[in-house]
């Protein structure tokens, strides 16, 4: 193998540096109608009436649709594979447009017009009457027995409550001599901020509804559109071109179901529905805010005897991915330190805030912050060494999770920790920084994580791939898994080339997914592409190779079993000398007058395994106490993602995740007006994501134990890099100042409050 593990350039890089890469908005034709959604200006209540007269009088208006006109169908939006088991189906709790308003900015009507200006003008002229109720914005309020139900199907506003217990927490916590540490930790609502906004356009062709959309999950969106409109799966066709980032937001049906419906209202004429940046913030999905209460009992030898966690997840207005995230979080709590008795309790609660959905690492950045902050609270109170304590309690090779049965097939976590701690000089600096005085203080901090690569056994993992041999000996590679910037197309090309014995330039990957022709895959989410879809690619390339060799065997009068393909040449197994180029075999196979055979392969991989990726972040910071600011002096993530398929794209993933983690830890949060529930910083100026100036130099390193279950020894990488950054920063702040902050972001406002409380500033 020489292709896997190299730093091959991205297959789509040239298109992207020349402007040739076409994204959804670049594909919209000139005579496309423009749709805009009317969003509610209350957070909780009912639409009682519309006055549309003035809106209809705007020249260029083609149609106005309100919540009273749409099909009376409730549908789910989460990008999960559909479950044929009713109990496990996603919650169907919204309509295309909603009469019952559940958040500020809920979709209540839509205008279709000949151009942007007419659509915007008409939207402004719609008058709405509401029956208004006070918004319920916090989990605490929503869980009060007197709270108004946000969905009638869930009168107590609890979407789901789940719990587990490994051993007996009660019993285990009675052991004599235990040290009890308790803490409450909170994480904020943040947004994905993909630079391409949420958008789509829809039209009808050949009796079907076609939606071209910036989505991570074309096949799932097809199913959701069919459910929302009450038509067959086959009546919908989704096309996904290049997309400008998703990070989980586009792992949900966003504009597509409504847009699919709107084109049917205008006889199948093309309709574009592109959200503004402000709508993308307030009306798509956000990351769940979570609150955790953790109690730990520790033995004098530094092992956990018993732990419990109570977790509350703010779901916002609609279920979307719902309980899956907080369930993932409390499961992660158990898996990272699977020692002693463990008890978990998790609630997902409806409120009148924007709907929370999937976002990079799916609940684990939340628990990662809480758990790793808690571990440092333990070591700072007990005097245990932070690395020693973690090593004693963390997951080891061979661990089998008692509930999900997910097994630790490989781990390089210990090596990751050693590598990172050497880089930063952790032990020495931690001692040195422990007792500083003065306005500028330094600190070092660390945090570890484990992360499940795919979604098995919680959900179905299935992926298909197709390869078609061309007459010149090159091959099309078609996958249902989507490129969303993470580099999937590049690693699939590498995997196919490596397996088939082709050079990568002979693999023509089809980047666009079209549900009418693309093999099935559930899409880009979890960190499943290289692991699950990668295996489908490997199997398909093997099958293609077998078929090529069978034909070559006939041509050469040799047993195909003795043959192999190396660098586009058919060779004797274990030999280099070319017997015949693949191109010649391909040409003959296509045009032979006696034996024409269009060589193609298609395979499905139904994955029934999963594996843990691991990693650590080490950070060194300088805290300016009077200014209440944190400057990151050095930061490093070390990952065990198994074998690295492409070093350059892998580093890129780590950098991007770290940058997002820095924002999560230091600056990002969405703010809401407590009176109305309206989002106050729904734009890229007031919402502080990292700019080039805010981001320090980022360091990425890998340890590469081969995972026996990955197609090439590989494990999850796309999501994990965000996880350990915020807690590492928070723990560095604890080292620098002795102040244990229980929430993020660690922005000046919060630090002022915390430093004042601790008496560091007056």
């Amino acid at each position: 193998m020489q292709i896997i593990g190299s730093a091959m350039h991205r297959v789509d890089a040239r298109d992207k540096v020349t402007g040739h890469a076409k994204y959804t908005e670049d594909l919209i034709g000139p005579h496309t109608l423009v749709a805009k959604v009317l969003h509610s200006t209350i957070a909780n209540g009912m639409v009682t009436a519309f006055d549309l007269e003035e809106a209809w009088s705007v020249p260029g208006v083609v149609d106005i649709v309100t919540c009273f006109d749409v099909p009376d169908i409730q549908f789910p939006t989460a990008g999960h594979p559909w479950s044929t088991d009713k109990k496990h189906q996603d919650i169907a709790d919204r309509k295309l447009l909603n009469t019952r308003v559940r958040c500020y900015g809920d979709d209540i009507a839509a205008v279709i017009a000949e151009n942007e200006i007419a659509a915007a003008n008409a939207l402004r002229k719609i008058k709405v009457q509401y029956e208004e109720h006070a918004p319920i914005l916090t989990v605490e309020e929503a869980m009060k027995s007197t709270a108004m139900p946000i969905h009638e199907e869930r009168p107590d506003n609890i979407v789901v409550h789940s719990s587990y217990e490994i051993g007996s927490f009660e019993e285990a916590s009675k052991e004599p001599g235990l040290i009890r540490v308790e803490g409450t930790y909170e994480t904020p609502i943040v947004q994905h901020c993909h630079i391409e906004i949420a958008n789509s356009f829809a039209y009808m062709e050949a009796g079907k509804i076609v939606v071209v959309s910036s989505t991570q999950i074309p096949h799932i969106v097809r199913r959701i559109c069919s459910q929302a409109l009450g038509v067959g799966f086959g009546d919908i066709r989704i096309i996904k071109p290049y997309i400008g980032g998703g990070f989980g937001n586009k792992q949900d049906a966003l504009t597509e179901p409504l847009n699919a419906y709107l084109t049917t209202r205008v006889g199948g004429r093309p309709v574009k529905l592109a959200y503004t940046r402000e709508e993308t913030f307030a009306c798509t999905r956000v990351r769940h805010a979570m609150e955790f209460h953790i109690v730990s009992y520790i033995r004098p030898d530094g092992t956990f005897a018993a732990r419990s966690i109570d977790a509350y997840s703010n779901q916002g207005a609609y279920a979307s991915h719902a309980h899956a995230l907080v369930a993932n979080a409390v499961n992660g709590f158990r898996m990272m330190y699977p020692v002693g008795a463990i008890k978990g309790n998790a609630y997902t609660v409806y409120t009148n805030l924007p709907t929370a959905g999937a976002m990079r690492a799916y609940g684990i950045p939340q628990i990662g912050f809480a758990m790793e902050a808690h571990v440092d609270d333990i070591v700072s109170r007990t005097g245990f060494d932070p690395i020693g304590f973690r090593k004693r309690n963390m997951m080891k090779l061979g661990y089998v999770d008692p509930i999900t049965t997910i097994t630790c097939h490989s781990t390089g976590l210990e090596e990751c920790i050693e590598k990172g701690s050497r880089h930063i000089g952790f032990a020495e600096k931690r001692m040195r920084y422990a007792a500083q005085t003065g306005p500028l203080r330094r600190g070092v901090g660390m945090a570890i994580f484990c992360y499940k690569t795919g979604v098995y056994p919680i959900s179905l993992e299935t992926s298909a791939c197709r390869m078609i041999l061309n007459q010149d000996g090159s091959a099309q590679l078609q996958v249902g898994a989507t490129e969303i910037g993470q580099g999937a197309d590049t690693v699939f090309t590498m995997m196919a080339a490596e397996t088939a014995g082709f050079t990568p330039d002979k693999i023509h990957l089809i980047s666009t997914q079209d549900t009418d022709v693309t093999p099935y895959d559930t899409g880009a989410y979890a960190s499943r592409q290289t692991y699950v879809s990668g295996m489908a690619v490997k199997k398909t390339a093997e099958s293609l190779k077998t078929k090529i060799l069978a034909y070559a065997g006939k041509m050469l009068h040799k047993d195909p079993w003795d043959l192999d393909i190396k660098e586009n040449q058919v060779v004797h197994r274990n030999q280099e000398k070319s017997l015949i180029p693949v191109a010649e075999v391909a040409l003959e196979a296509c045009y032979s007058l006696t034996d024409s055979n269009h060589i193609a392969a298609e395979e499905t991989h139904h994955c029934s395994d999963n594996t843990y990726a691991f990693g650590v972040c080490f950070a060194e910071i300088e805290v300016d106490i009077p200014m209440c600011t944190i400057k990151v002096l050095d930061i490093l993530n070390v990952h065990d993602s198994g074998r690295i398929i492409n070093r350059q794209t892998a580093e890129g993933q780590v950098h991007g995740g770290m940058s997002m983690g820095l924002g999560y830890g230091l600056t990002e949060f969405l703010k809401f007006d407590p009176k109305t529930g309206r989002m106050l910083n729904d734009n890229l100026l007031d919402y502080k994501l990292m700019t080039a100036m805010d981001t320090p130099e980022l360091h990425a390193a890998f340890v590469e134990p081969e995972d026996p279950t990955g197609p090439f020894g590989n494990k999850a990488l796309g999501e994990p890099p965000i996880i350990p950054v915020a807690p590492a920063l928070r723990n560095a702040l604890l080292n620098a100042t002795g102040v244990a902050v229980g929430s993020i972001p660690l922005n000046p406002e919060k630090l002022f409050f915390e430093f004042s409380k601790a008496g560091l500033i007056r």
Binding site: D12, D15, I195, G485, G652
Partner: protein, 163 residues
Amino acid sequence: MANKLITCTINGKKKEYFVDVRSSLMEMLRGSAGLDSVKHGCDVGECGACTVLIDGLPYNSCIYLAIWAEGKTILTLEGLSDVKGAISDIQQAFIDEGAVQCGFCTPGFIMSSIPIITSEHPYGREEIRKQIAGNLCRCTGYVKIVDAIEKTQKKRIRERQES
């Protein structure tokens, strides 16, 4: 609303367009001129995805009225490749350094980097970061983007010194 005839130079060619006086330069470039590298990420001057050069300086074309372009010289990403499709050194550096992920911010970053790589001043990494701080990228963490710009500007300074 009135339309107006605008004459300007785009990517080296004289162009004339009738534009709605309310429309932005971004709309004119994406719409009338068909230059899709000019990306639409916010419409309000926050993200930098729509960055183009106007008389040599980077602007957010979404908050620059099309009618202000009268008589101006505009360069978009399309103008960096030659007619045969050969790409410029800065584009190649973005490929080589792995500075591209989803690619949506890429045209804007490359355009913002032109004044840096054509300057006589040797920009340090911190200065480069400051110059590109108006362009947002959610994918890369900026490191490899800074690498690509730094490498290209060093190469160009070297080339100038050699010639």
